[in-house]
């Protein structure tokens, strides 16, 4: 919690006086528990597999495969993460692909979203449609089509093709996130920088980039999450490479080694930590209001 006492009702420069919402006939006034009940029950259900994952990553199973009966608590699997052949390597591959594809999609996505948000140009509509198609197209179709393309171009599948395909779907997400960040932010600041004698490069570095930074961080986070998690598309273009989801999927048929749950728990903990840090930082620095509405 920040020590700065901010008026919580002022969001984006617009007063959202919550009390003014409580008017006769407005549903808010009635305290019916049904909505919070639905919300908390469903959120609780979504947490069930995660609770099981965390608990069973400590189960002292004799077989090296997770099983239901509780055999006692042990930190053994965490201390022997590298015991399962191929798992650690798959995990490392996933992390590498995630970081690299996030970088590629940011580098391509920042100028592209600037162009799409600030200019009207020939092909903009088509580009926009392509970005949304990239997000909406069924993974199974994208995966199959990508594999066809690589095979017929005689590009052998493996690490590089996974990276290319991941960067492609991440690019679409990054552009959508950045455009949302840019929309409503006019160009007055950049123009002011220009009027004050800044070259376009300096204006970009000192004005545009800081404005975009939260969007870049959000886009990068989303990219990392999407990439680490992708199974369907990757299953087509992986060739001999194995990513973490591919390993898990293969092991699921015969029973997961407990170490898989350990890795899952570690990712969960790190993700939670990043999210909390991000929340604290953004709470410190509220987004400036750039609404020209």
């Amino acid at each position: 919690m920040s020590a700065v006492t901010q008026d919580p009702n002022v969001v984006g420069g617009e007063s959202l006086d919550t009390t003014s919402r409580r008017v006769a006939g407005e549903p808010r006034r009635r305290r019916r528990p049904i909505l919070p009940l639905i919300y908390w029950v469903v959120v609780g259900i979504t947490m069930v597999p995660i609770v099981f994952m965390i608990v069973y990553s400590f189960n002292d199973v004799p077989t090296g495969r997770i099983s239901f009966p509780w055999s006692g608590f042990t930190p053994y699997w965490y201390l022997n993460l590298g015991q399962v052949s191929g798992l650690t390597h798959a995990f490392a591959t996933s992390i590498e692909i995630a970081v690299l594809s996030a970088l590629i999609s940011i580098v391509l996505g920042v100028p592209m979203s600037l162009a799409m948000e600030r200019y009207r140009f020939w092909g903009r509509g088509a580009l926009n449609a392509t970005v949304y198609a990239d997000i909406a197209a069924p993974s199974i179709v994208v995966g199959a089509a990508s594999l066809s393309f690589f095979l017929s171009s005689s590009i052998s599948t493996g690490f590089v093709t996974i990276l290319l395909v991941h960067s492609t779907f991440n690019l679409a997400y990054v552009v959508v996130v950045l455009r949302a960040r840019l929309s409503g932010a006019g160009t007055a600041l950049e123009e002011a920088a220009g009027d004050l004698g800044a070259s376009p490069v300096v204006a970009f570095r000192t004005v545009t980039l800081p404005l975009l930074l939260p969007g870049i961080i959000a886009g990068a986070m989303l990219s990392l999450a999407m990439s680490i998690d992708d199974y369907v598309i990757t299953s087509f273009v992986a060739g001999p490479s194995v990513t973490f989801p591919l390993f898990v999927y293969g092991a699921a048929k015969v029973g997961l080694p407990p170490q898989v749950l350990c890795f899952g728990t570690i990712i969960f903990a790190v993700g939670l930590l990043l999210a909390l840090v991000n929340a604290l930082i953004t709470r410190r620095a509220p987004r400036p209001a750039f609404d020209d509405e």
Binding site: A136, A144, D195
Partner: protein, 315 residues
């Protein structure tokens, strides 16, 4: 046109000599090349790695040959009839089943997700909205395949849930959850719930509170206010959610293979097997094409019925 701007233009060497207009990069004439230069790399990337593969991948269905030796264009539509007319594999059944699963999962996410989005948008102080949205997304921090496999673990015949139910004599010995359609649909809905909650929340959040006040002032009962004001204004959010969830669930092979059984084989699995196991490239491409066309038709009809405006408003 200020002399200062002119000076900076020349000093920075930006663009041509000033022609009596200030350098403004927003939708003005003057800097014509900028958007093309900015979007060049990204556009090229999407063209080469998304558009061309998608188009060529679908065209493969009209070719014969294989990727290693190359394809020859035979314009042979026979592969399409071989899928549906006396096929060795009942693909039509898989298509229907996948559409039913996807439709059911989408419906569940609307029924469950709308109240959740409504709760966050209207019943929670602004201070807590982000936290509650974050809780909806929290399960995404765990790898999707692990989450689904944990469900398989929980719902297994010898797993915790059924063991407890049997001990309480609430379930008979031959009652199964894993391997049934219900398990697959439930898994699909579980996976994509957040994709329904978020767009609906965004749409609800945009509703002007004064509209609700006005409706109340005009003696609208809460029910009427909801059905005549809130629901119509959030339709775009539902549409975006349906688009995301339906497309994702119809083609998804993972839930069906981890939570389903022999009777829940879906088109996603069929495409995967045709491609990766049996190397029937033209069949897989044809199935992909039919899937895209079916999804396109269904969503087009839905868009006409639902009468939604541009999806871009949601982003």
């Amino acid at each position: 046109m200020s002399t200062a701007t002119m000076a900076t233009d020349q000093v920075a060497g930006a663009g041509p000599a000033p022609t009596g207009q200030t350098r403004r990069p927003v939708g003005r004439r003057g800097v014509r090349a900028a958007p093309y230069l900015l979007s060049l790399a990204g556009s090229a990337w999407l063209l080469i790695l998304f558009v061309i593969p998608l188009v060529s991948g679908l065209i493969v269905s009209l070719m014969s040959g294989n990727p290693e030796k190359g394809f020859t264009f035979t314009w042979d539509w026979g592969v399409y009839s071989s899928i549906f007319v006396n096929p060795a594999v009942p693909y039509a059944t898989f298509f229907v089943r996948s559409l039913v699963y996807g439709g059911a999962a989408t419906l569940i996410t609307i029924i469950v997700g709308y109240p959740m989005a409504y709760f966050i948008a209207f019943r929670v102080s602004p201070r807590w909205k982000n936290a509650l949205l974050f809780l909806v997304l929290l399960s995404f921090l765990v790898s999707f395949v692990i989450r689904i496999d944990m469900w398989a673990f929980i719902l297994a015949d010898q797993g915790p849930l059924l063991t407890i139910l049997r001990d309480l004599h609430l379930a008979s010995k031959d009652f199964h959850i894993l391997g049934t359609s219900a398990a697959v649909i439930g898994g699909d809905a579980y996976n994509d719930l957040a994709f329904m909650v978020l767009p609906i929340y965004v749409a609800l959040e945009k509703i002007e509170p004064r509209f609700l006040e006005a409706a109340g002032d005009l003696y609208g009962s809460p029910r009427t206010v909801f059905s005549r004001v809130v629901l119509p204004l959030s339709r775009s959010g539902i549409f975006a959610g349906v688009l995301l969830v339906f497309i994702d669930t119809v083609g998804d092979p993972v839930d069906a293979s981890l939570l389903g059984g022999t009777n829940t084989y879906t088109i996603g699995q069929a495409i995967q097997d045709a491609y990766l196991t049996n190397q029937q490239y033209n069949v897989a491409a044809a199935l992909s094409t039919v899937l895209m066309i079916l999804l396109g038709i269904i969503l087009f009809v839905y868009a006409r019925i639902a009468g939604t405006e541009n999806i871009e408003n949601l982003v």
